[in-house]
């Protein structure tokens, strides 16, 4: 079957373009906007995580906001209680990732015994219930009023932008390496058919748990970056809607592909802002637009943005085939 995706050269060019845009952006936009784009980078990582567990491994997680929250609180606690400020603040990011990794594995283990729908249920319940759990230890987590981080050690929005996108770039490369190898193949085989995967020798417990753990790690890193950007961490920061947003972002980006994630990230960050001036029913209720987008995407392009790219990439060969059947008759 002809490879529908653009060739290696095109992909490398696209990546290079992305890097160029990222480097150029801060020079073009205002300081305030740089914070927003830093948040885009944060969403990028979170959606990456969501895509890994749902798009590649086929496990429907509706609770990845909870892992973001875990990462955010890790950073907040290390900074607020243990004084990991200045340079150490950045060091909290990998720690947050590691702890989120562990949490993801914990969630992945019971998920082994459950079929897809139940996994969705459990993760949904997790997303609703975890924020309340957090308020139970106010001396540790700051309770309902939250934990402030120090912000005196942040030299400005540009710094946040660089931190966020550096992490995002590292995560992207890590994910790419992971997914193109054996792990990626194992994930995809589990998504397509668990029974077939097992008969091909893929260990379900190992890879399913790993999918949850890795995706949770990315979400945790995103959460840590968020805490650094927003400077305060409270239980209200990660309600159910965050988890739902991640699913929206991943669906729009395109499940099972890395090439549309930036679209999802931009959507998640800017939609609430755009919706403030949107006419009619969308005004100040970005959820309406999100809901409509989700439904329409599933109807029209279930593959999301990446799927759209695939369809566009197929156009040349389709045009050729069209030409061949309709115009070649004169030759034969």
């Amino acid at each position: 079957m002809r490879d529908a995706l653009p060739g290696v050269a095109v992909r490398a060019a696209a990546l290079a373009l992305g890097v160029v845009v990222l480097l150029w952006l801060p020079t073009y936009v205002s300081d305030f906007r740089q914070e927003q784009f830093a948040l885009v980078g944060m969403w990028f990582m979170a959606i990456l995580g969501q895509n890994i567990v749902t798009g590649y491994a086929g496990q429907i997680s509706l609770g990845h906001g909870a892992f973001m929250m875990i990462g955010a609180y890790t950073t907040a606690i290390l900074v607020g209680h243990y004084g990991w400020t200045h340079g150490y603040k950045l060091a909290t990011i990998p720690v947050a990732g590691a702890i989120a990794f562990g949490a993801g594995a914990l969630v992945g283990l019971p998920a082994l015994r459950l079929s897809g729908l139940y996994v969705a249920l459990v993760t949904f319940a997790l997303a609703v219930a975890l924020p309340q759990f957090v308020t139970k230890w106010p001396h540790f987590t700051g309770g309902t009023s939250g934990l402030p981080l120090s912000y005196s050690d942040i030299p400005g929005n540009h710094y946040l932008y660089v931190v966020s996108w550096s992490c995002a770039a590292i995560c992207f490369v890590l994910a790419w390496l992971l997914l193109r190898g054996r792990t990626g193949r194992a994930f995809r085989s589990i998504r397509d058919s668990e029974i077939a995967a097992v008969s091909a020798g893929v260990s379900l417990p190992v890879y399913k748990t790993f999918a949850f753990a890795v995706s949770a790690a990315f979400a945790g890193i995103a959460g840590a970056v968020y805490a650094i950007i927003s400077n305060i961490e409270s239980p209200q920061n990660f309600p159910l809607s965050v988890s739902i947003n991640l699913v929206v972002g991943a669906a729009v980006a395109g499940f099972g592909s890395l090439w549309g994630i930036w679209v999802g990230a931009i959507l998640l960050e800017f939609l609430p802002i755009w919706s403030q001036s949107a006419p009619g029913l969308g005004q100040n209720a970005p959820a309406v637009v999100q809901g409509l987008i989700l439904i329409l995407v599933m109807f029209i392009i279930p593959g999301g943005f990446a799927g759209l790219l695939r369809e566009l990439a197929r156009l040349p060969s389709r045009a050729r085939a069209f030409g061949a059947t309709n115009f070649a008759r004169t030759e034969s």
Binding site: G116, L121, V128, I244, L281, G291, M298
Partner: protein, 340 residues
């Protein structure tokens, strides 16, 4: 012949009917467990009025969980999917009721009008939104229900704003006191209305032609088609009934919790726990599960200080997890064998 049939002999037909009511292969141990729990509740109530109070209000909130759980089970049996938007749909219905009341419509007029609107809305949603993706696989359907969740959430926010509002009870009045235990009038109404709706539904399913067709369509859609049942319309009917049930749940809960776009989210979680506890395939299980969760969460919150009122949701999550880990098919569901 099972021991039940031996004991009850000629009442075989009724026992079979009871068995079928409880769902496929109702397990003896589950019934025993429930009976033991009921005995515990009765004894506790007799010994302490505070205990009895918690049980009573637990039954009332449990009745609303039961209604929403029953809605979830209805849709699950028909389309093998859990409607994540059930809570938000119920919330939206409750807002519609609020609006009707604000326009001056009397309570019961608004109530039944809302039921009718919700019923039609549910049918419409199944036809327009669910049917196109029915064959798209689990992920597509889940995503679409998430989309509905967002849509209703956003619409409610947009139309009525985020400020919590008062929703009137069906009948206002001072609590009725029986032996030191206060029965709030709204609680009584809730239980009556919810149980009444459940009984009506049961009658519909058991004794009407359409009800039988719906059950057949849910059980074996291919065989149902061959008999002339329009299966896809039956599914839509299931969604309509579920939406109406959700509306009932919403209107019964709103007086106690204030109406806001997010007020049904926690209830949905309790309903999930209830439906899973009872067994996703069992309607009676959903009702029993709802009542059980309502009472249990109340008791846990009241007597285990650490849980208090803050950790009720996590407690429900814990129950959900425990059930899924020990017996995923719940109390009355068919034991599903995972072969891999």
């Amino acid at each position: 012949m099972s021991s039940v049939e031996q004991t009850f002999g000629g009442a075989g037909g009724h026992v079979t009917a009871l068995r079928r009511l409880l769902g496929p292969r109702s397990t003896g141990p589950a019934v025993v467990l429930l009976l033991a729990y009921c005995v515990f509740l009765v004894i506790g109530s007799l010994k302490s009025t505070q205990f009895a109070q918690q049980v009573v209000s637990g039954i009332a909130s449990g009745a609303t969980f039961a209604a929403l759980a029953l809605a979830l089970v209805l849709i699950y049996r028909a389309t093998e999917v859990i409607n994540l938007a059930q809570g938000e749909m119920a919330m939206f219905s409750t807002y519609i009721a609020w609006q009707l009341l604000a326009w001056g419509v009397g309570y019961w007029g608004a109530f039944f009008l809302t039921l009718a609107i919700s019923f039609l809305g549910g049918i419409g949603i199944e036809r327009l939104v669910i049917r196109p993706v029915e064959r798209g696989g689990l992920l597509a359907i889940v995503i679409v229900t998430v989309g509905l969740f967002l849509l209703f959430d956003g619409l409610a926010l947009r139309i009525w704003g985020g400020l919590p509002r008062d929703f009137p009870p069906a009948i206002s009045g001072s609590p009725i006191r029986v032996g030191g235990v206060a029965f709030s009038v709204q609680d009584l109404v809730t239980v009556c209305v919810t149980i009444g709706a459940v009984i009506l539904l049961w009658l519909f399913f058991q004794f009407t032609k359409v009800g039988l067709a719906l059950r057949a369509a849910a059980l074996r859609p291919d065989a149902a088609r061959l008999v002339g049942v329009r299966v896809s319309w039956m599914l839509a009917l299931g969604w309509g009934l579920a939406a109406a049930l959700g509306a009932i749940a919403g209107m019964m809960i709103a007086p106690t919790t204030l109406l806001s776009p997010t007020f049904m989210q926690a209830i949905l979680l309790y309903a999930f726990a209830a439906a899973v506890l009872g067994g996703l395939e069992s309607p009676a299980g959903a009702v029993v599960g709802g009542l059980a969760i309502g009472v249990t969460i109340n008791l846990l919150g009241a007597y285990i200080g650490w849980i208090g009122s803050v950790l009720r949701l996590p407690a429900a999550l814990a129950i959900l997890l425990v059930v899924l880990l020990i017996k995923p098919s719940g109390l009355f569901g068919r034991a599903a064998v995972r072969k891999v």
